[in-house]
Amino acid sequence: MQVPILKQGPHLIATVQSALTDADLVQLRDAIVEQVGRTRARGVIIDVTALDVVDSFATATMRDIAQMIRLRGARTVIVGIQPEVAFAMVQMGLTLEGVTTTLDLEEALEHLGERQNGKVAR
């Protein structure tokens, strides 16, 4: 299941549409890294609103993505973690430490915009 990745200004927005297998996650990671390299994107927004389960593999992959594109000078924002998913993640001890998470796209763009201008949000 390919995750569509769109370019919006200096940012890439990857919108997950349905449940992702491990192979899908790896494919997503590679696609994002490749596109950031190619387009010199400053930020990547991964919309996971459609994910009903985020387990250790998905969490690790998201952290990997953030780490890998940081090396290319870009920031990652994970958007739309569902309340039930957030709850399950913290109970399982899965953390997205070091990765920014916001409720929706608007918040994510705001965060990236502020970052871009060199201002500190919090």
Binding site: A23, D52, S56, P83, G93
Partner: protein, 138 residues
């Protein structure tokens, strides 16, 4: 009152990563039918995901069986993850908190154990692994 037929058992053979998704979706469905809250159903699905992935990573093939259970009027779900693989080395360590729960290859077992009401692990070198967990609707 709530006498809709609840699927009492679902078995998924785990051989590919697609099966991991299938297993956890069926588990979530069963949990929701049993009356678990959406949060807890997600939790159960996440635990199933971890158990199924372990099968894939360590044994390449196995099966996950989900069953409804009853006891004194209480309903619950039991999940059995079984494989004929090489067994889990150092099972005691695998159950310790902090044993690679954040890593990709982490077994995720401490997390699963913490969240289920009952947890049982049987494994022996070359003799495969069986993990059985229960969670009760509360």
């Amino acid at each position: 009152m709530r006498d809709e037929a609840v699927a009492t058992e679902a078995r998924v053979v785990v051989e590919t990563d697609r099966d991991i998704v299938s297993a956890r979706q069926q588990g979530r469905f069963m949990a929701a039918q049993l009356g678990f809250s959406p949060g807890t159903a997600t939790l159960i699905a996440t635990a199933i995901s971890e158990l199924a992935r372990n099968i894939l990573l360590y044994a390449r093939r196995g099966e996950v069986t989900m069953r409804t259970i009853e006891n004194n009027g209480s309903k619950g779900i039991t999940v059995e993850a079984r494989d004929d693989g090489p067994g889990i080395p150092q099972p005691q360590r695998a159950l310790e908190d902090g044993f690679s729960t954040s890593g990709r290859l982490g077994l995720g077992l401490p997390g699963v154990k913490r969240l289920m009401d009952e947890f049982r692990l049987e494994t022996a070198p070359g003799r495969g692994t069986v993990i059985v967990v229960h969670k009760w609707v509360r």
